[in-house]
């Protein structure tokens, strides 16, 4: 029995509550801004959190087509992935590579949600998520480019590098752009959000309703917080990341920019979305090779 471990557990829970509330409010703000640009009044900003709480008290049943326990476990795994990403990235500042591994596990969650339910809509959403795995390749090239610049992938070292040399966003503008496209593809209603396209009902979440949907929504809220934090930490650095309040301001600004883009651009078809992402990844790859060869 140690008092310190109780403190750690409570701290961990408090941090994830904080991340969920901030991420949920930002996603609500995103929806509000998109609605205002389209000339609708839009739901209140707390709508995302409200939905999560509402679904938490709804009934679930296991569909006859579902493959259990994967059907159930994949929703739990969604939270596990993003809480671990929150702790490893935001709290412990470990390697960027581990965070990218966890981001890739999010693809497994999407694919698994769609497949394990046995629903054709869910399957379509899952297969689209597999297609949009093309978005991960710029990620690796971004990692490579950052490593060439800073000689380390540990977030702590990257932040320390930026203390001396200034924000990376000015030194690697293309890598920042590629990462920004990744953020954009995670946002709802964005041009790259083919996974959650309304033409396939709710995409991979079609058969995960009620309580399970609420769990996935909690994970999505935390995910939004973590992704924005990583962007701010890696590309803007100690200027914003040293103070949690300034980080919050940065997140609001980023969400505002992403919402503007989401509201003003149409949703691409799957082929076009994948093609554009592949073009960006090829450009990022060329950038990486140029940096390796020129030095």
């Amino acid at each position: 029995m140690e008092l310190s471990s109780i403190k750690y557990v409570i701290d961990a829970l408090a941090y994830s509550l904080y991340a969920f509330l901030v991420g949920g409010l930002l996603l609500g703000l995103h929806r509000k801004i998109v609605a205002r640009i389209q000339g609708r009044p839009g739901p209140p900003v707390i709508q995302y959190i409200l939905h999560t709480i509402k679904f938490y008290f709804k009934e679930i049943t296991f569909p006859i087509t579902a493959g259990n326990p994967l059907y159930l476990f994949i929703a739990l795994m969604s939270i596990m992935v993003w809480m671990s990403a929150l702790y490893l990235g935001v709290v412990f500042n470990t390697s960027l590579l581990i965070l990218m591994g966890l981001y890739v596990l999010q693809k497994i969650v999407e694919h698994g949600c769609g497949l394990s339910s046995g629903s054709p809509y869910g399957k379509l959403g899952g297969v689209r998520s597999v297609f949009s795995a093309a978005a991960e390749i710029p990620l690796f090239t971004v990692i490579g480019t950052i490593y060439l610049l800073t000689k380390s992938l540990i977030i702590e070292d990257i932040i320390r590098y930026q203390e001396i040399h200034g924000p990376i966003i000015f030194q690697l503008p293309f890598a920042a752009f590629a990462f920004f496209v990744l953020l954009l593809s995670k946002a709802p209603n964005s041009p790259f959000a083919i996974v959650k396209d309304k033409s396939i009902v709710s995409g991979y979440m079609t058969e995960h309703f009620g309580l399970l949907e609420s769990l996935i929504m909690i994970a999505d809220g935390i995910a939004w917080f973590v992704l924005l934090w990583i962007f701010i930490a890696v590309f803007i650095g100690p200027l914003l990341v040293s103070d949690p309040l300034l980080t919050l301001v940065g997140m609001v600004v980023l969400t505002f920019l992403i919402s503007l883009l989401c509201a003003l651009t149409p949703l691409l078809t799957p082929n076009h979305s994948v093609m554009i992402q592949i073009i960006i990844s090829v450009l990022a790859l060329v950038d990486l090779l140029r940096r390796i060869i020129v030095g």
């Binding site: 904080y18 900003v45 707390i46 500042n93 309040l245």
Partner: protein
């Protein structure tokens, strides 16, 4: 290892709770889905009070969660309601914060 920003956690938590209270209140009071130019009396009072309370220092920094709770009430009101109240409250809060920063230093 980064510390948990507990002060911000309380602020965000109270903002959300205020939003819930505001939503429940406005749904009970108003039937029409969307009205322009309507000012709610209690929303106005809580918005102004929240704005004023933001820059009054209280022990344990309790003024920030309290004022955000009060500001959250007009923030969470149903679509179309509570806009003027929110803008008024936030502008009072920002004004008070700036004045306090100018005088206090």
């Amino acid at each position: 290892m980064n510390e948990v920003p507990y002060n911000l956690l309380w602020c965000i938590l109270s903002l959300t709770l205020g939003g819930f209270v505001g939503l429940a209140y406005s749904y009970n009071k108003y039937v029409k889905p969307y009205v322009e130019g309507n000012i709610d009396r209690w929303g106005l009072i809580s918005g102004i009070l929240g704005g004023v309370l933001f820059s009054i220092p209280l022990p344990y920094n309790i003024n920030y969660p309290l004022s955000l709770f009060l500001l959250g009430i007009p923030l969470g009101m149903r679509p179309g309601y509570g806009r003027v109240e929110l803008i008024l409250g936030v502008s009072i809060a920002v004004l008070g914060y700036l004045i306090r920063g100018l005088i206090g230093r």
